[in-house]
Amino acid sequence: MTARAVALVQRYGLVVVLVAMLAVFSLVAPAFGTYGNALIVLQSVAVVGVVALGVTVSMTTGGFDLSAGACVGFVVMVTALTMVRFNLTGGTAIVAGLIAGLVVAGINVLLTVVAKVPDLVATLGTMFLFQGLALIVTSGQSVSAGMTIGGSPAPGRYTGGFVWLGGGTVGSVPVPVIVFAVLAATVFVFLNHTRWGRALYAIGGNAEAARLAGIRVGRYRATAYVISGLCAAVGGILLSARLGRGDVGAGDPYLLQSVAAALIGFAVLGANRPNALGTVVGALFIGVMINGLTMLNAPYYTQTFVQGALLVGSLVVSYTGRRERKTT
């Protein structure tokens, strides 16, 4: 292949594959290409997408938030406990969930920025801590309305308003999809068109150059983790609302899927770096593929392998022959 062809593949390869996949699935499975199914696909990727946007921000500075999935699970538990065990309102549960996300982010910041532990291992530690904490606060049980706590039934249950966040619609569009869309647009503008986003990318590109240009590197790295924690918290709230209960380990699959979405996003439009648009495409990619394969009656247990293949393919596209990177 000529250099030009390589550049074209790097830039548009993934988008072309996504469009081709849409076309093939629509032809083979007529139920695929409908408005209703599109909403189903979007609904299925909304939580992953929201979490992945946070992971994307954490990656911009050269960090990596491995605790995102654990944060989702922890927030699911916190919101469930707030409503079921303590019989508080849905609004309180949302606030408690966001605070839980900030706590996770705070630990990440303490470890990476203050204690200077490398990001990957620090957030791996945080992941274990909060997976474990979610088990401790619920004694290892799922939290649902009517469960017994110390011999008596739990006083509360999921409020209607809170459940609406997971299952409600505006017009015909599910609420999680709207949240995902709004958050995606916000993160896109934040990363690409604000000075804070520019500073984050500068740190990811050359932290020393950023520091000497007068950028307070520690603060921005902390900010990135806070945004990542908040996104994971929003994801956890949406997931909790959709489940209607606090399932043990509910957040676990979200780490790998969101990291995959963010990494696939590197390959979108030749960005070669974490970016919001790419992450959205990456999340959609995963959703479309799983939805399409399900319609073609591919067994569920092939999904993980297919996602893995997709991720590996995208990584090759964005890292191989890496010469020109996106200029800002």
Binding site: H193, T194, A199, N206, A209, A213, T328
Partner: protein, 519 residues
């Protein structure tokens, strides 16, 4: 083998084209055994391309190279090494492996050699390393971690390794650009020894004095062509003239030999007033005042404390002692952010490690220190950014391949000199009160140097400037006065008009009765 033997390497009609531009055009050049040939030219003249072709990193478009009588067409760097061509690149740290010892670095090549067995033993590594170290008089302990060594020692490791392969042709690409003059002298001795042993040396440098000292012949490249070949003794002026072509006049105005810059009326109140500062704990405290419109040069050998001084003033390292006032107010920056907020700017020594963000455009580099300035209602204004970048490009004459650099061009597409113009220019664009430049001319060709010097003189009329350089010649014609540091202490201060290379060298080496320099 007689002295007038066949040339070791014979380049004939060599051309290399990148897209529409000819990086090399019909270059012809012979190097004989034991001969040191200097290669000189401004950035973009084709030096790097010629090195790349000879070291096998790229292939020529046309023309031939013969090495020891055989056609030399390396398919890659390994072929070139096998054929007897060793190249020592400018960036020393590309040549050493951090986290390992001196001995392990010296014997790195034997790892890939056939017949060296599956296992390495400490004893064998040490024995081999000792032999290699002796060949270049490297005194560093073999068990020391390589990161504890100075730049010049690390470089000697790289050179020692190249020499141990007994090359026919040794290519040195700006080997002294990170060394002090004493260290450079040591290196030149090593190079002479090698030549005496019959190795052909191609010596690339920006430093005329070294070329004069070392080479019997110098080849001047310009625009990919051999513009002149001069034989020793040659006139420095002739060499520079050939290098610069049209830019010569600009250079003459910018920095004549030992000429002081034009007299200016300086305000009485200093912008920077530092009392009792030190470059290192336990050093001799000294005072430093810089007024608006004044350019103060700081020179000294590598390791004399220039960078430490500048970084303290920028908050990049804590102030070891003393009182600093900036514009009359107490100034003690906690970090670079505080320094920038107070109106201080700093261009660091290592351009690629400390200033360049890979993949970013000229525009993004220009605006990075002042993102707030381009903020409009929370969003960055591309228009405002482009405006700033265009100003820097225009003022400093930043050039890309074939014309003024577009503001959206990636920094990597510019030559070192032009990158430096952007890195220095972006701070001037922010109208700082105090501008600190650490080795701003390293790896920068004479033309770009003149551009930067001239633009500083023109546009820094109300800025206090401190320029640090280990080559005092770079400061002549630019600085109003020159501070000389020696081993962390102030060795002396000379007004530019009185500065002679001899006087500076005396202070830099600690030879003239400077306080704290007496043994």
């Amino acid at each position: 083998m007689s002295e007038a033997a066949e040339p070791v390497v014979s380049v004939s009609g060599l051309s290399k084209r990148y897209g529409a531009t000819w990086a090399l055009h019909d270059v012809t050049l012979d190097i004989h055994p034991g001969e040191i040939v200097g290669l000189i030219g401004t950035n973009g003249a084709g030096k790097s391309t010629l090195i790349k072709v000879l070291s096998g990193a790229t292939q020529a478009t046309s023309g031939t190279v013969t090495l020891a009588g055989r056609t030399f067409q390396p398919g890659g760097p390994l072929d070139a090494i096998a054929a007897g061509v060793q190249t020592v690149h400018q960036n020393i740290d590309d040549g050493v492996v951090f986290g390992t010892t001196v001995a392990e670095n010296l014997t790195l090549d034997s790892l890939s050699r056939r017949g060296s067995g599956w296992f390495t033993t400490r004893a064998r590594t040490r024995a081999e390393a000792r032999e290699i170290a002796a060949s270049v008089r490297l005194a560093a302990p073999l068990d020391a971690p390589v990161e504890t060594l100075s730049a010049s020692e690390r470089q000697r490791i790289v050179i020692a390794r190249a020499v141990s392969r007994r090359p026919r042709l040794l290519i040195l690409d700006e080997p002294t650009s990170t060394l002090s003059s004493v260290e450079a002298d040591l290196l030149l001795d090593t190079v002479r020894q090698m030549a005496a042993a019959g190795v052909a040396v191609l010596y690339v440098s920006h430093r005329l004095a070294e070329i004069e000292d070392l080479c019997r012949r110098v080849v001047v490249l310009r625009d990919g062509r051999v513009r002149r070949t001069l034989t020793a003794p040659f006139d420095r002026r002739e060499v520079v003239e050939a290098m610069l072509g049209d830019a010569w006049e600009a250079l003459d105005q910018g920095r004549g030999d030992a000429a002081a810059p034009p007299k200016r009326d300086l305000p009485r109140v200093p912008v920077l007033a530092a009392a009792g500062i030190r470059t290192r704990p336990g050093g001799e405290p000294f005072d430093l005042e810089v007024r608006a419109g004044e350019i103060v040069g700081v020179t000294g050998l590598v390791g004399s404390g220039k960078t430490e001084l500048l970084e303290q003033l920028y908050g990049a390292r804590p102030l070891s002692s003393g009182e600093v006032r900036l514009g009359g107010l107490p100034y003690r920056p906690r970090d670079p952010h505080a320094a920038v907020a107070a109106g201080v700017a700093f261009a660091a020594e290592e351009r690629s490690a400390q200033a360049i963000v890979p993949g970013w455009s000229v525009r993004a580099h220009v605006t990075l220190p002042r993102l707030r300035h381009h903020n409009r209602a929370g969003l960055l204004s591309r228009r405002s950014e482009r405006g700033s970048a265009a100003t820097v490009v225009e003022r400093f004459g930043v050039r890309g391949p074939g014309g003024p650099a577009p503001v959206e061009a990636p920094m990597e597409t510019l030559s070192g000199g032009n990158q430096q113009k952007v890195v220095v220019g972006r701070w001037l664009e922010a109208s700082p009160a105090l501008l600190l430049l650490d080795e701003p001319f390293r790896g920068v060709d004479v033309g770009a140097r003149a551009d930067i010097g001239r633009t500083l003189a023109q546009h820094a009329a109300d800025v206090a400037v401190i320029v640090a350089s280990s080559d005092p010649q770079e400061l002549l014609g630019l600085a109003d006065r020159i501070l000389v540091l020696h081993e962390g202490d102030l060795a002396g201060e000379i007004p530019a008009a009185d500065a002679t290379a001899a006087r500076l060298a005396a202070l830099m080496s600690g030879a003239s009765g400077a306080p704290g320099a007496a043994a």
